[in-house]
Symmetry: C2
Subunit: 608 residues, 2 copies
C-alpha cells in the first residue's frame, strides 16, 4: 500500500524537544530559531528526514513555519490548517497564527528583543524569505544569523537518513521532448538575457528538465537534486551517478549533461564565481545558502523566474495524450469504487480507512499504478468538512447512511497524474445538502464551460466557480484549483484558480476545478475534475483568439445529491452531456456486467 | 451651454512648435524633454493653461505623455486613444506607442544617448513617475534633470492664464459630514502612524475634505489647491481667501482650517522640514516637486495612500441619498430625450451635435443643472465604435435610420454626479446588432445582479460583464466600470471594475457598469448604469457577510435591440423588473402625457 493510517502525532514529546533546543541557544549565540517545513529544495513535499517542523512541534501540515524564541514561540499556518494545528500542537508552548493575516516576519519584529540574534538554516529558507526575515530583524534592531548546521538535526536522535533510491528515465514517448531540446531552449533564454548559467533547485523542475523520475518523496516522483544549466546548453546535475539507471545515464550523456556527485557542487559554483559570471536564480524558490555561496565566490546573481516553470506547465502533445490515457485508465477503478460504495455503504459497515484501502486496491488492479498522487482524503460526515482531512486509526469514522462521504484522491501513472474528488451519499440527503451540492456543482460547471480570451488569468475565472454559492450567502475558503504535473507533483505552479492569481492561462496547462462547501462539524462537499486549457476554434463573427477547457476526468457525479430545479438549462445540458461521455468512454473499459449496469444508471440523464 | 463642438486641433502648427522647443534644448542643457498631460495636481482633468501636451502635439486625449528628444519623439497613449492619436498628431514628427505594451520609461532607456540629459518639470510628474524615469535614464547611462521652469510655457505665446474663479461651500446637507469631522479622522490616522502631517494635492480630495466646490476645470467642480493636514486636526489650505465665499470661510475657520495664500506654501513646507517632521505623501499622486521641497528642507517623507481616498470613495448616507435624488432628476431629461429621438430620428434629419445639444437643453430645463459631468459622447454609426468619441463640427454625422446611435453623458447636480450610456436604433437592427447588444446587456445584468462576499474586488467581478461576449469570441478593450464622485469627478478612484483591479469593494462606493462591443468602422454598443455597493441582508442559511449592487440609473434600455431568445429567465426577469421600476419612478415625474405614454411603451415587458 502507498498510504498508511498510523497516528504519528508526538505532541507529548514536543515540550522536551523544544526545551532541549532552547538549551542550545546560548552555545549557538542565538536568541531564537526559525523552523520551516522545508528541505533544501523548497518543494511542497519533503522527505521524512526533513520533517523537522513536525518533529519539533507536532504539526504535520504541508506548509507552515515556527519561530522559537527563548520564552515564547509561534507557529504560522494558512487557512487550510486552522483547525488541525490546534489539535496537533501544544498550545501552552506556542501560539498558532494564520497567514496572511499574521506573517512570521511581522511577529518577529514585534517579539524579538532589540539586539537579539535570530538563527536560521540558510538551506531551509528561500532568498525572498530570508530577505523578509532580515528586514523584520533590522526593523526591530535585531540580527538574522545564518547557522552553519541545523540545530534540530543535532538533537533529533532517530532522524531518518536521507533516501537515495534509484532514479529512472521518463521515456520520450511520455515526456514528449528530449532533455537536449529543453536544455537548448533554456540556454537560448540565458544567452538573450546575458546570463552565463542558472541554478535549478525545484525537484520537479529537475525531474522535468532531465526527463528523470525518482522516489525519495512519497507520492511525488521528483528528483532531489540541484542542477546548473549553462548558456552553451550543457548542464551539471548533482546526483550520484550510481543511482541513475544506465539508459538514463547514456541519454543524459548525449545531451551534454554531466552527472556530478552532490559534494562537488561547491566547486562548480566557485568556478562560476571566480569567473565573475552572471548567474540567474529564482529568488522565490532557491535556498538562501546558494545565493550566499555564489555571491561569496564572486558571481553576480540576479532574480529570474525559473526557466523551467512555463514550459513545464504548458504540456506538450505527448504529455496531454498521456494525461488523457491516465484519466481514462483511472476512471475504471473510480467507477468500480463508487459502485462498491453504493452497494455496501447502505449496510452501515464501511469506514473511512476501508474505503481508502478499497480505492487503492482497485487502482492497483489496473496493473499500472506507480503511486498515489497524495494520501487519500476519505471523510465521512463532519470529517468531510475538513478540506485536508487525513484519516488515521484514531480518527476513523463509519460511513453512515444519510451522511455525506467525500473522497479526494489521485494516482501516479507513468503517463500522467490524476486528482479527483467526488462527494456521495448513501441514503437520503437533506434539502440543504442537495441545495449546497448543486450550487457547488453549478460552480464547477460554470468554470468547465468557460470560454475566455487569450490573456485571461486563473484569478479572472476563479469567481465563476463561486457565483452560485455567493447567491446563497456562501463561499469556500480555498482556491478553486491548482496546476497538475505530468507524472510529477499533483500541485504544480504557476497557474491556479484563486482570487490572488495573476498567471495568464496558456494552452496545455492542466488544472484542477474543485469548488466546495464546508459546514464545520456537520458535512462538506467538493467536486473536482481536471481540465486542460485549450485553444478554441474561431467562432463565426468572433474577433479574438479564445481558449476553452477540455475535461480530463470521467467519473459520474452523484445524481442523488443534484437538485435539477435550481440548475439552468445550460448547466443541466452540460451535466447530462458529461454523463453521456462518461458512459461512452468508461463502459467499454469495465469488464464486469454489474459495473456496467451501475455506470449506466449513474449516468442516466436528469430532467426537471 | 456647457460644451462646444469646435475643432480645436492645431496639428498644422505643431512642427514649428516642436522645432522651437528643440532649439531651446541647448540653452537648457538638455537632450530631451518629458511632456505629460498633467498639471501640478496630477488629476485626470486639467485647466486650459495646462494643456501643454495638446498644444505641442495636437493630441487632446485625457491621458498621455510624450518624450521629445533632439531628433526623435514618441507619444504614449492607452488603448482608448489608439485611433484618435493617429488622427491628431503629425506622424512624421512622432511615433504613437500604446501602454502598457510600450512604456515611456522603456522607450527612454532605448533611445536616450549615453550621457544624455532628459529634462522634466517636477511639478508635472508624480513621485512614482519621476522615479521610473530616473531608473530608465540610469539604465541608459543618462541623467534625469528637474527644470526650474517649464520650457513650453516659455514658447506658448497665447497660453491662457490660470483661472481663479469663486469657490463655494458644499452644504452639509449634501456632504453629510463636516470638514472638522473629516479632519479629525485623518489626524487620528496620522498620529497612529507616527506622522506629523500629510500633503494633499488631489483636487477632488481637497474639495471633498473641506466641503468646497470650484469651477476652474470644465465639468469637474474640484478645487485646485494644495493642503497640509496636521496631526492635531488643523489644516493649511493654500487658496486665496478672497476666492472663497464668506460662509465657507467661516465654516473652515471653525474647523481649524487656515486659508493661506498659495505663495506661502513654501514656508509651511520649510517649517515642517526644519522641525525634521515625518510627512506623508501619496507617491502615486503627489508631484515630485513637493517631495523635493520637503526633503531639501529636512523633512522625512514616506509614502502613504492619501487618507482621503477611501472615506471619499465610500459615500455616507447623505451623499447616497443625494445620488439617488440626482439620478431620479436626471431620468426625466433622459426619458424626454429618448422620446425626442424616437420621434424625430426616423425622418433622418438629426445629427450628433443636435442630439447632444438637445440633451443638454433638456437637462437645463430641470433648473438644477450645474454643469455636464463630461463632454457628451454622441456617436452615430461608425462613430459609436470609438469609445471616447467627441463630436466636432467637422466630424458631425447624421443619425441615420437602421444605424446605431450611442450617447454617453452625465450631469453635475449639487447632490450628485450622473453618468449614463444608452445605445438606440431608429429603424431596424441587423441580427448581428441585436445579438451583440443583447450580449452586452446580459453582461451588464450579470454584474448588476451579483451578490458577493465582503472582501471581493472589482477585478474579481469584472469578468461577469464579459462572459456573454466571450461565449461569442468577443470582448471589449476597456474596463467595465469606474468609481463616480459625489458632485465631483465622474471618474473617481480607487475602486473600478477592470481586469487589473485589486481594490476591495466597500459599501457606499458608487461605480459605473458599462460593458460594450465595438466593431470598428461599423457600429458600437455600450450600456451604462451606475451602481451603489450595498451590504446585503443575511440570506437564510448564509454564513458570511455579503454585498449587492443597488442600481441608481432609471432610463429605459432600447427594446428594439434586445433578442430575448438568447437571454436566461433570470436575465429577462431582471430587465422586465428594471423597466417596471423605471416606469414607476419616472412616469410621475414626467409632466407631458406623450412623454408618459412613450415611457410606458418603452418599459413594456419583453417575452420570448
Amino acid at each position: 500500500m502507498f498510504q498508511n493510517f498510523a497516528d504519528t502525532n508526538q505532541r507529548h514529546l514536543t515540550p522536551a524537544r523544544i526545551a532541549d533546543l532552547r538549551s542550545r541557544f546560548e552555545a549557538l549565540q542565538i536568541d531564537g530559531l526559525i523552523v520551516s517545513r522545508a528541505d533544501e529544495f523548497q518543494g511542497e513535499y519533503v522527505p521524512a528526514c526533513a520533517e523537522r517542523l513536525n518533529w519539533l512541534t507536532g504539526f504535520s501540515g504541508s506548509a507552515g513555519s515556527a519561530v522559537i524564541l527563548k520564552s515564547t514561540a509561534a507557529i504560522f499556518i494558512d487557512g487550510r490548517y486552522t483547525l488541525q494545528v490546534r489539535d496537533q500542537v501544544d498550545l501552552d508552548l506556542m501560539t498558532p497564527l494564520q497567514v496572511p493575516e499574521n506573517f512570521p516576519h511581522a511577529w518577529v519584529t514585534r517579539n524579538i528583543p532589540k539586539g537579539g540574534k535570530l538563527g536560521f538554516d540558510p538551506w531551509l529558507l528561500t532568498i525572498r524569505e530570508a530577505s523578509r526575515f532580515e528586514a523584520a530583524c533590522n526593523e526591530a534592531g535585531a540580527e538574522l544569523v545564518a547557522l552553519d548546521s541545523n540545530p534540530i538535526d543535532a538533537i533529533w536522535d532517530d532522524q531518518p537518513p536521507p533516501l537515495a533510491k534509484p532514479v529512472v528515465q521518463q521515456p520520450l514517448q511520455f515526456a514528449g521532448m528530449s532533455s537536449a531540446d529543453k536544455l537548448r531552449d533554456i540556454a537560448e533564454g540565458l544567452s538573450q538575457r546575458g546570463s552565463k548559467a542558472c541554478v535549478l533547485t525545484q525537484t520537479d523542475a529537475v525531474a522535468w528538465l532531465f526527463n528523470l523520475r525518482g522516489c525519495d518523496i512519497p507520492h511525488t516522483p521528483a528528483v532531489l537534486a540541484f542542477a546548473v544549466v549553462h548558456d552553451d546548453g550543457s548542464a551539471d546535475l548533482f546526483l550520484d551517478p550510481a543511482r541513475v539507471e544506465e539508459g538514463a545515464r547514456e541519454t543524459l550523456g548525449r545531451a551534454s549533461v554531466r552527472l556530478v556527485a552532490p559534494k562537488q557542487m561547491t566547486e562548480t559554483l566557485q568556478a562560476l564565481g571566480s569567473a565573475g559570471e552572471n548567474v540567474e536564480l529564482d529568488f522565490e524558490w532557491v535556498a538562501e545558502a546558494l545565493r550566499r555561496a555564489l555571491t561569496l565566490s564572486g558571481a553576480t546573481v540576479s532574480h529570474h523566474e525559473s526557466p523551467c516553470t512555463l514550459p513545464r506547465a504548458a504540456k506538450n502533445h505527448a504529455e496531454l495524450e498521456g494525461a488523457r490515457a491516465a484519466h481514462l485508465r483511472d476512471a475504471v477503478p473510480m467507477a468500480r469504487f463508487l459502485r462498491w460504495l453504493d452497494t455496501n455503504a447502505p449496510a452501515g459497515q464501511l469506514d473511512e480507512i476501508q474505503a481508502a484501502q478499497k480505492l487503492e486496491a482497485l487502482r492497483t488492479e489496473t496493473g499500472e499504478l506507480l503511486d498515489l498522487s497524495f494520501d487519500t482524503i476519505s471523510g465521512a460526515g463532519p470529517h468531510a468538512a475538513i478540506p485536508h482531512y487525513r484519516v488515521s486509526e484514531t480518527s476513523n469514522r463509519p460511513i453512515e447512511n444519510d451522511h455525506i462521504y467525500l473522497v479526494d484522491s489521485g494516482a501516479q501513472y507513468v503517463d500522467g497524474t490524476t486528482d479527483i474528488t467526488r462527494t456521495i451519499i448513501a441514503g437520503t440527503p437533506t434539502t440543504e445538502m442537495k441545495d449546497r451540492f448543486t450550487r457547488v456543482l453549478k460552480g464547477m460547471i460554470n468554470l468547465s464551460r468557460a470560454r475566455f480570451p487569450a490573456g485571461t488569468t486563473g484569478g479572472h475565472l476563479d469567481p465563476l466557480a463561486r457565483l452560485p454559492l455567493w447567491e446563497a450567502g456562501l463561499d469556500f475558503d480555498h482556491g478553486t484549483g491548482h496546476g497538475v504535473g505530468s507524472y510529477l507533483s499533483v500541485h504544480e505552479g504557476p497557474q491556479r484558480f484563486s482570487k490572488a492569481d495573476r498567471t495568464v492561462l496558456q494552452p496545455g496547462m492542466i488544472m484542477s476545478n474543485e469548488p466546495g462547501y464546508y459546514k464545520a462539524g456537520d458535512y462538506g462537499i467538493r467536486i473536482e475534475n481536471l481540465l486542460i486549457v485549450r485553444e478554441a476554434e474561431p467562432v463565426k463573427g468572433g474577433d479574438r483568439p479564445m481558449h476553452w477547457f477540455e475535461t480530463l476526468t470521467f467519473t459520474p457525479i452523484d445524481r442523488n445529491l443534484v437538485e435539477p430545479a435550481i440548475m439552468t438549462d445550460a448547466e443541466l445540458d452540460w451535466l447530462n452531456d458529461y454523463h453521456a461521455r462518461v458512459l461512452k468512454k468508461v463502459a467499454p473499459r469495465l469488464e464486469n456486467a454489474e459495473d456496467q449496469a451501475w455506470l449506466q444508471a449513474a449516468c442516466a440523464p436528469l430532467t426537471r
